[in-house]
Symmetry: C2
Subunit: 239 residues, 2 copies
DNA sequence: AAGGAAGCTTGACACAGATCAAGGCCGCTC
DNA sequence: GAGCGGCCTTGATCTGTGTCAAGCTTCCTT
């Protein structure tokens, strides 16, 4: 078991020598040196192992999180256990803002995850008189909202094949922002997660992957897919 | 034709004698006298007739809107015409923020609508050094995002009957904030709008209304429904 | 290297909701 | 008040996706 990171270990109190790679993309990306140092002092750097809860729906929302490394799934459950994944969080994403005193969804790590954790009070006090920071929060919220609206269109009005294609294209483009453009799209989440994101069953997702492969649009590889015909593929995802 | 209001008529330049009823709920609800007067000077009060476009997806997003009176539908279209309504806007709602230079959805009036319209530049200049205003924008965005996430759960994981029940309960509760609690829920939007909001066809919506009426949960009245058994009804909407 | 568990794929069948088609109920206009 | 158009409802049938049930692959453990 390489690189065992025990949960909730922190490295605040000393200067982390590893430079935060996603800083420009994150909520704190436009802070200047001095302000950023003050901001850093509010943060706890927390590491989670695979499949751990960062927070859960209906818990008191006492902290917000900036994802530094790894991938998280964000989801809501119905009383009978049906699950809807409302998004996958990538490095740079900001999590945990809620319209009430409690979280409105749950978040857990897929593989290993590192976050900057901020307690609500100090965080709010830091931002409340910093317009630039508030503007940045607004940009983040607006982008999230727009993604959510795209997903509503997908969930309400697209066929299974369109859903899967649009998911792969969207995921590829989000990864491209972080890692640059690649032919192979890595899929760290499982088929069930994809199904719960797209409002499908795992069987339908599996069949649709197979179908796209038969149609020579993709090749299924371990933990991902290779897109063969980006042109035709983007068209399918858009339509 | 009573009260004919021709589109795009404005009343800025003189003090509107009618007091803005939804002010406390709106984006400007916490501005003090002096600041509010400055803010008002940026606004155009615009009146729209029924079924007019406030703005359309992919247009340059040169203005934002605070809805004062009436109801708007917000929606996205696929190239082949399939439509997803992403929300209904009520008085007090704030519209038109986009993550890029263009609107990410379309908005049009259902019946008559009055808005405060702000051009982007002056609006941004007004808020950029007013932390209270920025905080309020954040609250609005966070609430919208949470509603969008609820809707994803509905679209992806609920049955037709659950969708209709949850819609009626959600709509009733939003109206209650404005008009107080009532037994009769007014539905100014048509069946097709409800279908496009819930990811169903108009026939399924119609059949489901009829089914709920047969089961003695509601009575269908002109332009609305009366909820007979709120207990049982809320349960159906939650489950 | 064998055994097992977890995740993925495939097949047969069922069903919720879509589609196609007709008819009813207003509220206009003339 | 007759005729028309928009909206809504209802019925018959179809179909995409869900459900149920095996079987397969991969990888981890021992």
């Amino acid at each position: 078991m390489p690189h065992l990171a025990f949960p909730n270990s922190t490295c605040d109190g000393f200067r982390c020598e590893t430079h935060c790679a996603v800083r420009p993309l994150a909520i704190c990306g436009e802070l200047e040196q001095v302000e950023h140092e003050e901001f850093e002092r509010l943060a706890q750097h927390v590491r989670y192992g695979a499949k751990e809860a960062l927070f859960s729906e209906d818990e008191v929302a006492d902290a917000v999180y900036s994802l530094v490394e790894g991938i998280a799934r964000l989801y809501k459950l119905l009383p009978d256990g049906r699950r809807q994944i409302i998004g996958f969080a990538l490095p740079g994403d900001f999590l945990g803002m809620a319209p009430s005193a409690r979280y409105s969804f749950s978040a857990d790590s897929i593989g290993g995850v590192t976050v900057c954790k901020f307690f609500r009070g100090p965080f709010l006090r830091f931002i409340e008189n910093r317009p630039h920071m508030l503007m940045r929060m607004n940009e983040f919220a607006t982008r999230e909202l727009s993604l959510a609206q795209d997903q509503m269109l997908l969930l309400g009005r697209r066929s299974a094949e369109e859903k899967v294609a649009a998911f792969l294209v969207g995921w590829r483009d989000r990864l491209a922002r972080l890692e640059g453009v690649t032919k192979t799209v890595s899929l760290p989440m499982g088929r069930q997660d994809i199904a719960d994101f797209l409002g499908l069953t795992i069987e339908t997702v599996s069949r649709t992957f197979t179908k796209l492969e038969r149609e020579k649009l993709i090749v299924i590889v371990p933990d991902g897919v290779r897109v063969l015909d980006p042109k035709r593929f983007d068209a399918l995802a858009a339509a």
